[in-house]
């Protein structure tokens, strides 16, 4: 533990919610990174002799109708689903933050145009607009990310814009302006760092939303395509066997719930730490 990190560690240690959330997320990150080392079997290789085996010591989560080891598939699925939650949030975050900063600071016609666009996008139910865009682009994870970037930025833009409207009237903004600093410098170096806390906290609950949406879209057959191991796809594959082989659907679903819980706890803890009320 270096000296610079010590205060951060103290702040985290005093908040059990944040600590629990970070531990869960770190665990999932480690599982994703070491998947090839820790997964006991090949996640895609089919084995006709091992079809629909219930959980046992050899296969803790059982096997599916192709004889694939569910435990190994859940481990490999961590890579895909963690990626969905992170990439699906990063692009909307960057776009929304930029738009919100500019719209809030510049104001006027720029602001009006962006706010109208946001109103229109918000008029569509989130998943319906996502599915419509994916219908045009074709199924797949890439389409999901593009659709996310096109739709997801509005929440961040609204959060940051509201903050900017308040911040641009504070003294240090006026001071920076009178020192002759450029608009972009004031917006992004002086005001944005003070406006971003709410968005960072929101991005954690957004990770939950994006994870659930990505898994749902994959479940519907419009996201990640089989035979790739992804938790939503695995639930869909197990659906035909729920009367006889419950383990195919149970474990991937539990993984989604646990990862989502990690993001929720981290979000709650961060909100507490940064003094943001939702």
């Amino acid at each position: 533990m270096t000296a610079a990190l010590a205060p951060a560690w103290v702040a985290v240690r005093r908040r059990p919610t944040l600590l629990a959330g970070l531990i869960l997320l770190t665990a999932f990150l480690l599982i994703a990174l070491t998947a090839p080392l820790i997964a006991p079997y090949d996640p895609i290789l089919q084995n006709g002799d091992l079809r629909l085996q219930p959980p046992s010591w050899a296969h803790p989560f059982g096997t599916d109708n192709f004889g694939r080891d569910i435990f190994s598939r859940v481990i490999w699925g961590t890579r895909v689903d963690l990626q969905i939650a992170v990439i699906g949030v990063v692009f909307p975050f960057l776009i929304g933050t930029t738009v919100g900063t500019v719209a809030g600071y510049v104001g006027g016609k720029v602001d009006i145009v962006f706010m109208r666009v946001i109103d229109i996008i918000l008029a569509f139910p989130f998943l319906v607009l996502m599915l419509s865009i994916i219908a045009i682009l074709g199924p797949g994870l890439q389409s999901f990310y593009i659709a996310m970037a096109l739709v997801g930025w509005v929440s961040y833009a609204r959060l940051i814009r509201a903050q900017m409207l308040v911040l641009k009237t504070v003294d240090y903004a006026t001071a920076a302006l009178s020192l002759g600093f450029s608009g972009p410098r004031i917006m992004f170096r002086h005001l944005l760092p003070n406006a971003i806390a709410g968005s960072v906290v929101f991005s954690m609950s957004d990770c939950v939303l994006v994870l659930l949406s990505g898994a749902a879209i994959s479940y519907l057959g419009l996201g990640v395509q089989p035979p790739i191991a992804e938790w939503g796809v695995m639930v869909a594959e197990g659906q035909s066997f729920i009367t006889t082989a419950w383990w195919i659907t149970l474990f991937p679903g539990l993984s989604i719930v646990t990862l989502a819980f990690g993001f929720s706890l981290t979000g709650d803890g961060l909100g507490d730490l940064l003094g943001v009320r939702e």
Binding site: I120, I133, I136, A236, Q239, T249
Partner: protein
């Protein structure tokens, strides 16, 4: 009646949004690569059908004129024909509204039945063990994917206990409601995690508020203070929260209808995407968007009706 004046002028403010909705759905379908007439009619289109749709939508005209034709058709309730079902999109959608609407209403009702008692329990023991348990449940429950929760409910209630049907929609009213129980429960469980949080916060604020203090000063027992004063006042922010979440609720029905094979608009949308029935995708997206705008408008009216202090 002065405070209801917004009911008259608010719809005018919707015009730019409705215009935007039509523009987005128009652009979406035109972005598909290839000849729009062929895209809209599917691969098995006849030359005469292609010629007819070219004339109707002005597909050989400049793009802004095409948009004008699109609006003109829309104003006449003309959303094109479904490739798969061979009937008018608008007629197809109207046959699918009932299950979706019933599902949304049952889910909202059920989620209130779940959320109000749990939020009350948490708020009245503010900081106590019951509060911690309820807050844990709501934080944990937010991460439950509805499609998976639906399957778990099926495994438990339909397969193990044999209480409810696995999928489908009934013939008469009682049978339909019977088929709607598990789908609504799925959505209600997810929705109530959000409702519990906001209701709990509102109730705690109301418990400390002037109304409750005044009622206590008049010697009212705590339970009457709670159910007569705290609960009704806490429902105002919840109505707004439900309206804000209507988009999320509709997304939930899309997924849950697919799991339970309910013949609603959500299932129609998903099937249309798979069969490249773009006119249907366009129509359903537009109807869902207009419904969202309408629900928010109704919520504004309800808020004013519940709380006379609110001014729009």
């Amino acid at each position: 009646m002065h405070r209801y004046k917004f009911v008259l002028y608010r719809p005018l403010q919707f015009l730019p949004v409705l215009f935007g909705i039509s523009l987005i759905t128009f652009v979406l379908v035109r972005l598909i690569p290839g000849d729009p007439a062929r895209v809209l009619l599917g691969t098995k289109s006849t030359p005469t059908a292609i010629a007819a749709i070219r004339a109707q939508y002005g597909l050989d005209q400049p793009i802004w004129l095409q948009y004008f034709y699109f609006l003109q058709n829309l104003a006449q309730g003309e959303m094109g024909k479904s490739i798969l079902y061979k009937i008018d999109v608008l007629r197809l959608i109207t046959t699918r509204i009932e299950p979706t609407l019933a599902l949304v209403l049952c889910s909202v009702l059920l989620s209130l039945i779940i959320a109000v008692p749990l939020a009350s329990l948490a708020a009245r023991s503010n900081g106590g063990p019951a509060d911690h348990i309820v807050r844990f449940i709501s934080t944990f429950g937010i991460g439950f994917p509805p499609f998976w929760l639906a399957l778990m409910l099926i495994i438990f209630f339909s397969v193990r206990l044999d209480l409810f049907p696995v999928s489908g929609y009934g013939e008469n009213l009682a049978d339909k409601l019977y088929h709607l129980i598990l789908p609504s429960l799925t959505i209600a469980l997810s929705l109530s995690t959000v409702l519990i949080r906001s209701l709990r916060t509102a109730m705690i604020a109301e418990l400390k508020g002037d109304l409750a203090t005044a009622a206590r000063a008049r010697g009212m027992p705590e339970s009457i203070v709670f159910w007569r004063h705290v609960v009704p006042n806490s429902l105002v922010p919840t109505v707004n929260l439900l309206a804000v979440n209507i988009g999320w609720l509709i997304g939930g029905t899309v997924v849950v209808e697919s799991v339970f094979a309910l013949p609603g608009m959500g299932q129609l949308l998903v099937r249309a995407i798979f069969s490249r029935d773009y006119m249907v995708v366009q129509g359903v997206a537009m109807v869902f968007a207009c419904a969202t705008v309408l629900v928010n408008f109704i919520a504004d009216i309800v808020t004013v009706a519940i709380d006379p202090r609110v001014k729009q």
